[in-house]
Structure formats: structure tokens, C-alpha cells
């Protein structure tokens, strides 16, 4: 009996899950059903259909996104067939009469050239063809034609011409937003590229000065430091790939700390606590080193005695938790907030705000820097790095030089 019950539970669970999923998929339109007059109801429906068609279009006009949005757009217009094209090809044909594809593309040459809508009858040999007539509305972004929306119907209809024009304008706005998204991404990519090579000039100057001071008194030490410097700069100037592994980033931090320690001697104490499970995690190139540099700067600022920096990386299931902590001067939280919001420029070096931006860009807003600080109370920076993120792959294998 108990076995039967258990089997029943196991059998019912997938059904429950499927039902839950279906319910969530279909819940929203029903919510709206009870509200307002029939007219308002129709408005809600239209707005809802439009909002469903939005997300795919926000990724630009491609075969994939056209396919995903075409059905919604067709139900928005209520036509028998709807087709989205780019400048050369039909991207998707939703509904009846797909054999008109080539004819449509031939007739589109004019509207695509001029950017003006057009309506024309279709030539068809099939006797019971459902579509006899087509409305073309071009899709434009910044006054440049990117493609066209074609709605087909059995007979001429002025309402459809008007509606198709409006929907095409709405789709154009979405595509413009997609364009904006793209340029924003490009901007941040350019920013990351610009940031990558940008190790602090002060650091280069200071390191060379320290090495120079050792050349005569302790040539062996000077040679070691020069090698550390070479390793660090080689890592910083590396050209391939936007991502690295936590292991490589930590090695770069080690080289960096060796040079800093040569300058400050015993005043700087560093503790490392690394869970080996998280060393293969991929992360944006040089996104922890600036945090360590910041900790060193704040830790030694205005203090004559020792400064202690703690770097830890822990395994947290699907994420790696990296904490960089110093016991230095700290910072006024209000000022820090303004720096992160880019209202004031940081006093020097690579700002925390840049690391924060890059983390948010790569992993989403949930994964920005978490900073705990107060004036005179040190600073603790926490970074959560997902072990897997689509599109984040470290270049090369870890553990080299």
C-alpha cells in the first residue's frame, strides 16, 4: 500500500510541475479578463499581445527574433498572413500563402528603396489561395530602412493599411531600442578594452623606482623584482580574450603584492585564504587586482603602523565568493556612493566604479560590488562570481607562468 502511495506521488509530481508551468504561462491574460468594460478589456489584450512581442524584437531583427515575434504581431493585426523581411530576404512567413515569398521580395524593391508604405494585389495561380492582397510597411531605424513588415489579406482594406503602418512604426521603435542596446554594449566593450591595458602609471613609476633602489645594494633582489614586474605587465598587456581565471588573476595579484611589499616592507601584511575549488572560475580580466590596489592604498593611507590585507575566495555552491578586506582608513559611505554613481571622480588609479560596471555588465545587476566601509573602519569588498555564466569563458588554460 505504501509503495502504491509513493508511486502515485512520483507519478503525480511531473503532472503538477507541468500544470504549474502551464498555469504560469497562461495566468497573466486571465488576470486582466475581469477588469473594466469590453473596450478596456480589448485594449488590455492588445497591449498584452504587444508586450509579448517586445522581448524578441529588443534583440534586433534576425531570423530567430522574427520567428519568435511574428505570431504575436499577426494576432495583433488579425490578418491571415504576416511576413517580416530584411533588405534581401524573407525572414519569417507566419500564416497562409507562403508561396508568395519570392513575389513579395520582388515587389518590395520599391518600398525598401523609398521607405514609403505601399499596398498592392498579389498575382496568384492557386485558385483557393487565402491571400490576394498585401500591405507593405517599411521598418526604419534612424531614417534608414532595415526591412519591411508585410501583412496579407483576402481583400483590400483601408483599416489594415492603417493598422499595419502603426504596427510597423511600433516595431521600428523596438528596433531602435535594440540599436541603442547594441551601441551601449559596444561602448562598454570599448570601455573594458580601454581599461584592460590601463594599469596605474603611478604603480609603474613606483615599481621601477623601488627596483632601482635595490640594484646596487641587493642585485639579486632587484633581479627577482624585475622578473615579477615583467610577469605582471605581461599579464596586464595580454591581448587575447576578455576573461581570465581566478587562479591567473590571483597570480597577477601576487606579483603586484611582491612589488608593493618591496616598497613598504613590513608595513604591509597579507593573508590569503583560497578554496581550491573556485580557482578555475572564469572572470573578467583584471577585475580583482584594482580592488587589491585600492585596499593597499586605503590601508596605508594616513597610517604609520602596519596594515593588514585579507584576501579570501570561498566556494558557495554555484558561486565563488571573493572578499578583499583591509583595516585602513576606510571611506565615507556617502562619498563612496557618489564615486560609484560617477558623480565625483576618484582620486587616482582605476576606480572601483569601473570594476563595478564591468561586473554588472557581465553578470547582471545582482553581481555588482558589495562594499562595507566607514571612515576609519577599514573596507571590505565582496564580489560574487557565478561559476557558470553564458558567454564567459577563460582563454587558455590556467597555471601558466
Amino acid at each position: 500500500m505504501s509503495g502504491f502511495l509513493a508511486g502515485l506521488v512520483v507519478a503525480v509530481l511531473p503532472l503538477l510541475a507541468a500544470g504549474f508551468w502551464l498555469g504560469r504561462r497562461t495566468a497573466r491574460p486571465q488576470h486582466l479578463g475581469g477588469l473594466g468594460t469590453p473596450v478596456e478589456h480589448a485594449t488590455f489584450q492588445t497591449l498584452h499581445t504587444a508586450s509579448l512581442a517586445t522581448p524578441p524584437l529588443r534583440a534586433g531583427l534576425t531570423e530567430e527574433t522574427a520567428r519568435k515575434s511574428a505570431r504575436k504581431l499577426r494576432s495583433l493585426l488579425g490578418t491571415d498572413a504576416l511576413c517580416l523581411t530584411d533588405l534581401t530576404d524573407v525572414l519569417v512567413w507566419d500564416g497562409a500563402g507562403a508561396h508568395h515569398r519570392t513575389e513579395i521580395m520582388e515587389r518590395l524593391a520599391g518600398p525598401l528603396e523609398t521607405g514609403r508604405g505601399e499596398a498592392f494585389p498579389l498575382v496568384c495561380d492557386t485558385p483557393d489561395c487565402a491571400v490576394r492582397w498585401a500591405v507593405v510597411a517599411p521598418l526604419t531605424v534612424d531614417d534608414r530602412v532595415h526591412g519591411a513588415l508585410v501583412a496579407c489579406a483576402p481583400k483590400e482594406s483601408a483599416v489594415l493599411v492603417r493598422a499595419a503602418g502603426e504596427v510597423a512604426r511600433w516595431v521600428s521603435v523596438q528596433l531602435e531600442l535594440a540599436d541603442l542596446d547594441q551601441s551601449r554594449t559596444r561602448l562598454i566593450e570599448a570601455e573594458i578594452k580601454a581599461l584592460r591595458a590601463q594599469i596605474s602609471p603611478h604603480f609603474i613609476f613606483n615599481s621601477l623606482a623601488v627596483i632601482a633602489s635595490f640594484v646596487r645594494t641587493d642585485p639579486e633582489r632587484a633581479r627577482e623584482l624585475l622578473l615579477e614586474f615583467a610577469d605582471f605587465t605581461r599579464y596586464s598587456f595580454r591581448r587575447h580574450g576578455d576573461f581570465t581565471t581566478l587562479a591567473d588573476e590571483l597570480h597577477a595579484i601576487d606579483h603586484y603584492l611582491a612589488l608593493v611589499r618591496a616598497r613598504f616592507g613590513d608595513r604591509l601584511a597579507v593573508t590569503l585564504q583560497i578554496a581550491p575549488e573556485v580557482l578555475p572560475v572564469a572572470l573578467p580580466f583584471l577585475c580583482l587586482q584594482p580592488l587589491v590596489e585600492n585596499a593597499v592604498k586605503h590601508g596605508l593611507e594616513g597610517k604609520t603602523d602596519r596594515c593588514h590585507i585579507r584576501i579570501s575566495a570561498q566556494d558557495e555552491g554555484a558561486e565563488a565568493l571573493v572578499v578583499i578586506e583591509d583595516d585602513g582608513a576606510g571611506m565615507d559611505p556617502g562619498l563612496l556612493r557618489r564615486i560609484l554613481a560617477r558623480e565625483v571622480s576618484p582620486s587616482g588609479g582605476i576606480g572601483l566604479s569601473n570594476v563595478d560596471d564591468r561586473l554588472r555588465q557581465v553578470y547582471g545587476d545582482d553581481h555588482g560590488l558589495v562594499i562595507e566601509t566607514a571612515a576609519g573602519a577599514g573596507m571590505k569588498i565582496t564580489v560574487r562570481l557565478p561559476k557558470y555564466q553564458p558567454g564567459v569563458h577563460s582563454a587558455g588554460r590556467i597555471g601558466r607562468g
Partner: protein, 571 residues
């Protein structure tokens, strides 16, 4: 058994696990230590950790129990559990690591760029994880019952609470060291008593015929029947009965039972004379679960064996807690080396449970009657050696058994809770992870209360069957076939894994009862559900050629090219 030693042993395992977990971190304070602190996990350490996580209650207790009850046929279990890693090594290990995926849903997303397939894979991870957690909890309950006489459910609840607490409190901070420690603990806990047992067996004159059919009592033995029992006899049997047989009460009377089926009431004492063959037992009709499966196996042993082989060979690669451990390897080559080391470590371990099973057939054959065959490993030291030495060895085995429940259960709970938090529960955050942990453990705990006497190794076999029918096609085709499409992958997982899951559910529900071809097909689904999954995935993919993800060539290149070459390929 004397619980005076066993309980401290179990407590010691718990405490040492927590201590290793909390303090096993490498800390460095100077530059020279840095390379130690940031050294990646080597193949041998990682392999020990994978083995520690993998060797579950099914391996530790279940195999010996099955060998005890059913003889040498059951040696396919350890073979299958080990050989799964061979398939993993050949087809999956290195490309999976190079894909950068941490979990199976991650892999689905990395390969197919589809959220829908990701969610589906997540659902199957949860399903397989729950199916696999169930026998762990049952095994814990059984162990505690045998050791202390505590009620059946208590051991499961203890493991569930401990694991949930550990995982929800932020997990083991140095999970690799913990799991590696658990492997060596389990190996020791099985190896040392096994050596003594074999010596005792030698001292006993090395009696052979362990695999004679059927097993026979070597000396006079009294058995107390705990649950109502149906004895099936092929020839007459004379036995001393104190209790109720076939509705008639006896008081220490010698009864001659004719061939046929006899019902023994609960609480009856049966005393068998030396040399009597052990009769085949089935439990009461309403509790038809394990014996019916066992019967169907004897009816169609070849089919069942093939089903088992297919499920274990192809199911290992889809176990959620095994897959996440490969992420710890620094690169693809290390992942392969790790798998080779895992094969060696697990192979060594699996030599031991059959020894216990064989010795159990000689020294504790009555366990088949009481339905506690899975307890053979725990009882043998006390039975064969006795005294303080036997108790100490028994305590060592008990500690090892708890290590098995703990390590596998915590790994599975982590994996299931991770998927629940990420893909099922609404938004993310620490509190949601805790909720996911509780949910991940609560469902199998409730199920283990419902399902009574499912043999531990059989239950694990069902989890393997579902994993083999859903994830094996996804991984193998995803890595080796460039025309796989998201609809194909989704359909294949649904049809293959879904049908295996339904077959499992039907079997658990006792449908269709009584045996026969249909029953065998449902009880051992892998033989048809794995090809079905592959076929569906291939056919649907071929039918949707337009949906091949855009970057497939680049993705497959990344899966298969060694990391050294990658930097030259990607600009």
C-alpha cells in the same frame, strides 16, 4: 550488536567531517606560501573527492545485501557502478570540463543556448537527485535500527537534519578535502573489518560454496520474523516454530512444511537446523515491492541484467553531484586524469562489498528472511568475530556507513538545492538557497516515510535508469553531434527520461503486479528508454534543421580543442 561502541563511532564521523570541513582550508601569510595557497586541486585529490561523494549507501550496504540474497548475479552492480566512469572518461569528461559548465543545466544552456532546455534539464536534475536521496535516507534508517534498535525513520531524519544544517549554513567550506577524507574513511571502514573477517573465515577452515544455490544454514539458527512473510518451498522443510504459521499457532513445536507457500505471522520465531537450505521469502501481499522485483529478476535474469548494465554504464554521467565535481579540475586533461584515478579508487573499493555478501551467505543467511539483507555488512563483524573486537570492527563499519550517507546526501542536496534556487524558485539570494535546501531534503524524506522496504541498491538503480535515459543522450549527442537542436534535446529528454520516470513510478506503485514481461520491462526501463531517448533526440533534431544554434561550430571547437590551442583560435 553492542551500540556502546557504534554510537560514539557515528558521532566521531559526524564531528570529524564538520571539523575537516571547517578547518581544511589552506591559508598563507607570506609570498612563498602563495603557490601552495593557490594550487589547483590535483587529479588524485579530486578523484578521491569524487569517489567519496559517489560511494553511497547503495555501494556500502546495498551490494552486499543483494549478493547475500541473490548470489553472484548481483556482481553486475559493482561492475556497472565502476564502468560508468569508463564511459564518462571516453565520451564526456574532458569536453564537459572545457564547456565551462558547473551543473547539467549549465551544460544544456552552454551547448544549446536555450532557457527552455535549461529548465527541463533542471527538472530532471531534481528528479534524479530525489530518487537518489531516497535510498540514502532509508539506508541511514536501517543502519540506526540495526545498531540501536531505534525506529526506522530516525536514522533518515538524523541524516536529513545534519545534511540540511550543513548545507544551509553555507556548505562545507573545503568540500574537496571533506569528500576525499570520506573516501578514505569508507575504504578503511570496509577494508579493515574485511581483512579480519577473511582471517576468521580462514580460521574457520575456509568453508567454500558461498554461491551455492540456495544458501544453507551452517549451524542451527533461530530467526525472529518481524514483518509478515510468505515462504515459498520447493521441497518439504522441517522447522521448529514458536508463533503462528498459516494461521495456526505453535509453541516450540517441530513442524513439517509441505512444498508451496506458507504465511508466517509477525513475531514468529523459526529455528532452522544445520544444513537446511534457506527458503525463498516474499513479504506480505500488500507490500509487494521488493520481492516482486526480485522474482521478476529470477524469471528473466538476462533482460534484467542487460537493463542494469545499460542503466549503470550510461547513468553515471548524469548524476548531478558527480558532474559538479569535474568543475574543480583545472582543465580538460586534468578532468580525464581525474576520471582514470576515480576508476582505480572505485574499482578498489568495489572489491570489498562482494566479500561481505559472500561471507553473509555463509554466516548470516537468515537475513534474507527478516528483510534486513542490507544490514549484512553491519552485522557480520559481530557475528563472525564477536567480543570486543567484533564490536569495535562493527563500530568502524557503522561509522563508514554514516560517512557514506553523509557525503552522498550532502553532495546531492547541494546539487538539487542549487538547481531549485537557480531555476525553479522565483528570485535569487541566500534565503532562497536555504529554502531550496529544505525543499531538496524534505521531499525524499517524506517519500522515504511512504516507501517502506525498497532495497537500497534497487532504488539507486532506478535513479540511474532515469539519468541514463535523459542526460546521457543530452551529453553524448551534445558533445559529439553538431546537428543537435534545442527542440530535439527537449523532446529526447522528455520522452526518454519521462518514460523511464513513469516506468519507475509504475513499478513503485506495484503496477502491473505479479511479474511477467510487462512488469520486467517497467522494472528495468533502461534497456528500452535509453535508445528511445537517443532516437527521439536524433529524429526531432533532424526534423528541425533550422533550429541548430548559431554558434555550434565554435562551441564544439571549444569542447574538443585542448586549452593550449584555444588562445590561438579565439582572437
Amino acid at each position: 550488536m553492542n551500540s556502546g561502541y557504534a554510537v560514539p563511532a557515528v558521532a566521531l564521523v559526524l564531528v570529524s567531517t564538520v571539523l575537516v570541513g571547517a578547518f581544511g582550508l589552506r591559508i598563507s601569510r607570506t609570498t612563498s606560501d602563495f603557490y601552495v595557497a593557490s594550487r589547483t586541486v590535483g587529479p588524485r585529490l579530486n578523484a578521491a573527492a569524487i569517489s567519496g561523494e559517489y560511494l553511497s549507501a547503495a555501494s556500502f550496504l546495498g551490494i552486499a545485501g543483494l549478493v547475500l540474497v541473490q548470489g553472484a548475479d548481483m556482481l553486475w552492480y559493482p561492475v556497472g557502478y565502476t564502468a560508468g566512469y569508463l564511459v564518462l572518461l571516453l565520451f564526456v569528461a574532458a569536453p564537459l570540463r572545457r564547456s565551462g559548465a558547473y551543473t547539467l543545466p549549465d551544460f544544456a544552456e552552454a551547448r544549446l543556448a536555450s532557457q527552455a532546455v535549461r529548465r527541463l534539464a533542471g527538472a530532471f536534475v531534481v528528479g534524479v537527485g530525489w530518487l537518489y536521496l531516497l535510498p540514502q535516507l532509508q539506508g541511514a534508517g536501517l543502519t540506526l535500527t540495526v545498531l540501536t534498535g531505534a525506529p526506522d525513520w530516525l536514522g533518515g531524519v538524523i541524516v536529513a537534519v545534519v545534511v540540511t544544517a550543513i548545507v544551509a549554513a553555507g556548505g562545507m567550506r573545503s568540500i574537496t578535502f571533506v569528500q576525499a577524507f570520506q573516501y578514505w574513511l569508507k575504504l578503511t571502514a570496509l577494508l579493515v573489518p574485511a581483512l579480519f573477517l577473511v582471517l576468521a573465515w580462514q580460521g574457520d577452515g575456509a568453508p567454500g560454496r558461498a554461491f551455492d544455490e540456495p544458501a544453507a544454514f551452517r549451524e542451527q539458527r533461530s530467526v525472529r520474523v518481524q514483518d509478515p512473510l510468505a515462504l515459498r518451498l520447493d521441497r518439504p522443510l522441517t522447522v521448529t516454530v514458536d508463533g503462528t504459521v498459516d494461521g495456526r499457532a505453535h509453541d516450540h513445536a517441530a513442524v513439517r512444511l509441505e512444498p508451496g507457500t506458507h504465511r508466517i505471522a509477525a513475531g514468529t520465531h523459526l529455528t532452522f537446523a544445520a544444513g537446511t537450505p534457506v527458503p525463498a521469502a516474499g513479504h506480505g501481499a500488500d507490500d509487494a515491492l521488493s520481492p516482486s522485483r526480485a522474482e521478476s529478476r529470477t524469471e528473466r535474469p538476462l533482460y534484467a541484467t542487460y537493463g542494469l548494465i545499460l542503466a549503470t554504464f550510461f547513468g553515471t554521467m548524469g548524476l548531478p553531484h558527480v558532474v559538479v565535481r569535474f568543475y574543480t579540475s583545472p582543465h580538460g586533461v586534468a578532468a580525464r586524469r581525474t576520471t582514470v584515478a576515480v576508476l582505480a579508487l572505485i574499482g578498489a573499493f568495489y572489491l570489498l562489498p562482494p566479500v561481505y555478501g559472500a561471507l553473509g551467505r555463509l554466516y548470516a543467511p537468515e537475513l534474507t528472511l527478516t528483510g534486513d539483507a542490507d544490514a549484512a555488512v553491519l552485522l557480520l563483524p559481530g557475528r563472525m568475530i564477536g567480543g570486543v573486537g567484533g564490536d569495535l570492527l562493527g563500530a568502524l563499519v557503522a561509522g563508514g556507513a554514516f560517512a557514506a550517507f553523509l557525503s552522498t546526501a550532502s553532495g546531492l542536496t547541494m546539487a538539487v538545492a542549487g538547481v531549485l534556487t537557480q531555476d525553479v524558485l522565483p528570485s535569487r539570494g541566500v534565503r532562497h538557497f536555504r529554502l531550496g535546501t529544505v525543499l531538496a531534503m524534505a521531499v525524499p524524506l517524506a517519500a522515504s516515510a511512504l516507501v517502506g522496504g525498497l532495497p537500497v541498491a534497487d532504488a539507486v538503480g532506478l535513479a540511474f535508469a532515469v539519468s541514463a535515459s535523459s542526460f546521457c543522450p543530452l551529453l553524448v549527442l551534445g558533445i559529439w553531434w553538431r546537428r543537435l537542436t534545442p527542440p530535439g534535446a527537449a523532446a529526447g529528454m522528455l520522452v526518454g527520461g519521462g518514460s523511464a520516470l513513469l516506468a519507475v513510478a509504475a513499478t513503485m506503485a506495484g503496477f502491473p503486479g505479479g511479474g511477467g514481461a510487462l512488469h520486467a520491462l517497467l522494472a528495468w526501463p533502461a534497456l528500452w528508454s535509453v535508445p528511445l531517448g537517443f532516437l527521439t533526440m536524433i529524429l526531432v533534431s533532424l526534423a528541425t534543421p533550422g533550429r541548430v544554434p548559431a554558434g555550434t561550430a565554435a562551441i564544439l571547437a571549444r569542447f574538443h580543442l585542448p586549452e593550449e590551442l584555444r588562445s590561438e583560435v579565439t582572437p
